[in-house]
């Protein structure tokens, strides 16, 4: 009885080819597609919080301006720059692997991770400042409820004190900070995961696993990293730059 199937040849077995794929191209395609589908889930995940942000900002515009202006724009802007540089180094890490420059790939991976850690370091400085100024909402820190010092009208400008316009409620400013912590906290968590992912990439790169023929994991990690950068690209203006044009005295 003749076989009605023609077995499809396997590509000359690349050591990284998994048994259920026909060839490396299929494996790469599947991996990339998988990461993109995952990123779509991330868009929807962050999207819920962006929706909440939108609604509460239109409900309490004055309070949101007050809260936003009280964030440290310098640290925010520096962090934006840090992440953009890290996206560049990530792209260059992928490039280096594609053209076979393994040494440079390792350098760029390390650079990306260092920049990511820098971002987290600056973020923790910001968080520490919030803690110190009692700006952590609700009972997230037991024993240190939300209780910012409010700038008295007419008193000399004190950057540590919240400028609260007439008629605005501290309660609503607290909601701003709730959304701030939710958005930046979840973002920071994703950065931590990203750095963890890159540490695996670094380890395998050092072991010489990746090459022009096989570098899909680095490319895929890059997709994740760039996505986390994009989230910040939106977070920065929405959280930090809301009402700078309405600031009195900068």
């Amino acid at each position: 009885m003749t076989e009605s199937h023609i077995a499809t040849e396997h590509a000359a077995g690349h050591p990284a080819l998994q048994h259920h794929f026909e060839n490396m191209e299929q494996q790469r395609e599947a991996g990339t597609l998988g990461m993109w589908v995952f990123l779509v889930t991330e868009i929807m995940f962050f999207g819920g919080m962006f929706l909440a942000y939108m609604l509460f900002r239109s409900a309490y515009p004055g309070a949101f301006v007050a809260g936003s202006n009280h964030l440290d724009i310098n640290l925010g802007a520096i962090n934006t720059g840090v992440l953009i540089v890290s996206s560049l180094t990530m792209a260059l890490a992928v490039y280096s692997t594609q053209v076979g420059q393994r040494g440079m790939a390792v350098v760029f991976l390390i650079a990306t991770m260092v920049l990511g850690l820098t971002f987290l370091g600056i973020k923790s400085v910001e968080y520490r400042d919030k803690y110190r100024d009692s700006l952590v909402p609700g009972r997230l820190i037991p024993g240190r409820p939300f209780h910012p010092a409010v700038q008295e009208h007419g008193a000399p400008n004190d950057p540590h004190k919240l400028h609260l316009p007439e008629g605005e409620s501290v309660k609503h400013v607290e909601l701003f900070y709730w959304i701030y912590f939710a958005l930046t906290g979840v973002h920071a968590l994703h950065m931590i995961i990203g750095i963890g992912l890159l540490s695996f990439m670094l380890y395998f790169s050092l072991r010489g696993r990746y090459s022009p023929e096989y570098h899909a994991p680095i490319e895929i990690s890059g997709l994740y990293w760039h996505f986390v950068d994009i989230v910040w690209i939106f977070l920065f203006p929405l959280l930090y730059l809301l009402g700078r044009h309405l600031e009195h005295g900068g």
Partner: protein, 126 residues
């Protein structure tokens, strides 16, 4: 028991049909390598965009224009990252569809929810 099934549908397929995913070509043939020049150019654009958005934030443009401008710059920056750093410019149509769907679905969630909030004031109580 094959009598229950049409015989003709089981003829041996002799031609050299391959599914799209059993193409034996050189690795990288379907992969476009973006040049470093482009990466640096995009990086420059992103930094310029960041500076612009910070600078513009301090100028009162009136009404909602500050927000519109800030979001426009953010969208441009994000688009550059997606197209070049994430290689979507050189990717398959399927990738385009996936990215587009994600954004479209986000849009659905925003638009229909806002349709509730923004139309609440339209009706006046009797």
């Amino acid at each position: 028991m094959e009598t229950a099934i049409r015989h003709s549908s089981f003829t041996i397929y002799h031609s050299i049909y391959h599914s799209p995913f059993t193409i034996h070509h050189l690795p990288n043939m379907s992969e476009h390598i973006v040049s470093r020049k482009i990466y640096f150019a995009i990086f420059g654009a992103l930094m310029v965009g960041t500076a612009a958005t910070v600078g513009a934030a301090f100028i009162d443009l009136g009404g909602h224009l500050n927000t519109v401008l800030a979001l426009t710059i953010a969208v441009i920056k994000a688009t550059l990252v997606v197209l070049y750093f994430m290689h979507v410019r050189y990717s398959s149509r399927l990738t385009w569809v996936i990215v587009g769907s994600g954004l479209f679905w986000l849009g659905i969630m925003f638009a229909l929810t806002l349709s509730d909030y923004w139309s609440r004031n339209w009706i006046t109580p009797f």
